[in-house]
């Protein structure tokens, strides 16, 4: 089915190409996938999610949110997400795991959570991480969209300096890209799982990032994450470290998964995909598909757990 169009999943693509491919997936699987506009970016680019649903019309089905590309330079995350979109659609009805997940739940996949940043990395500065919003009174542009959520906003592990790579923004949800996702998820009201895909250093983390305090569900999340990491490693031996964000990578307030968890979405995880650091954020394109394939095994393990443990 992948030869039916000319999108090369083993290459990096422009925003337009990714959006076209989302449209094409929706066209190829009209009974399952739809491209939904959930908002727009600061520079007024559309934000699209692919909604995978087998229950037309039932709006508040339990749902899973897959988020990628919030840090624009982490290109392997957007590339993995678009591969995953095609994988979900093409495996439905063939792979019992994804079939049974989709019979019970909807999946929403946002491959490019920071479209302005992504375009900027392709046209101006490959290493750009933040949004492209203007900060009045500062020559520096953008806020870190993964410090901008309303979860201990402006706490530890975020900067109040607009020139910093981890600037939290003037207030929670100040970044329209973040607000668009927040509004959509809140309006929907029945998300059970939120997974954010980043890249660099192979980690699988769960709340909290803003405190060393143990999350109430930490034991269960840890067990699920360890199983997911084992499944991921089973493909080509990529080793992931597992643990809470704060102690596994570093303290970070205002993050997406902490917001999700604090707003009742229990199954909240962050992946840091394959990258030893020796490539920076420039993971060679020939590693896109291997990365996506191994990540899929981890994602599927988590989604199966969510399916079997709806609350």
């Amino acid at each position: 089915e992948r030869s039916s169009n000319n999108f090369n999943y083993g290459a990096y693509h422009s925003l337009e190409a990714i959006y076209r491919e989302m449209d094409s997936i929706a066209g190829d699987f009209p009974e399952l996938a739809t491209r939904v506009k959930i908002g727009h970016s600061f520079e007024n680019r559309p934000m699209y999610v692919l909604k995978f649903s087998t229950a037309e019309g039932r709006r508040r089905r339990p749902a899973i949110w897959l988020n990628a590309g919030i840090h624009s330079r982490e290109w392997i995350s957007q590339a993995t997400a678009i591969w995953t979109a095609r994988k979900i659609a093409s495996d439905y009805g063939k792979d019992p795991a994804i079939t049974t997940i989709l019979e019970k739940m909807d999946i929403f996949l946002l491959p490019v959570a920071n479209p302005d940043g992504y375009v900027y990395t392709q046209t101006q500065n490959r290493l750009w991480r933040k949004t492209r919003s203007v900060n009045p009174g500062s020559p520096c542009i953008g806020a870190d969209p993964n410090r901008n959520w309303n979860a201990s906003f402006a706490g530890e592990g975020a900067s109040d300096n607009p020139c910093s790579e981890i600037y939290h923004g003037p207030h929670a949800n100040s970044e329209v890209e973040v607000k668009s996702v927040v509004d959509f998820i809140q309006e929907h009201g029945n998300f059970k799982c939120f997974i954010d895909l980043h890249s660099y250093s192979q980690l699988l983390m769960y709340p909290y990032g803003y405190t060393v305090k143990k999350a109430p569900d930490a034991d269960e999340l840890d067990e699920v994450a360890r199983r997911a990491a084992r499944a991921l490693a089973s493909l080509s031996g990529t080793t992931y470290q597992v643990g809470p964000t704060c102690t596994t990578v570093y303290p970070a307030s205002g993050s997406s998964v902490d917001w999700a968890y604090d707003h009742g979405i229990k199954y909240a995880f962050t992946f840091e995909l394959r990258d030893t650091g020796h490539y920076g954020f420039l993971l060679p394109a020939n590693q896109i598909i291997p990365t996506a394939e191994e990540t899929w095994l981890g994602l599927k393990t988590i989604m199966e757990h969510v399916r079997d443990n709806l609350y």
Partner: protein, 94 residues
Amino acid sequence: REKFFGDQVFRINVRNGDEISKLSQLVNSDNLKLNVWKSPSTFSRPVDVLVPSVSLQPVKSFLKSQGLEYSVTIKDLQALLDNEDEEMQHNEGQ
């Protein structure tokens, strides 16, 4: 397009809280324009920092003077970017 000629990425190993605080002092310095890819957190995890070419000497001197261990993981960032760009153009052609 912004270029990164001569910029390097340093991987710095921290062994104790004192070294973490010394390193934090370095990365928080505005005039060196460092871009922290992996922040100082625990002792077991190295820190990756993008150092612009103009800051290479002062950063190296600081690390040496403070006895901080480091290695250069990316010697020429622009070369990596150029390769990536070439690969993208090749893929587009295909």
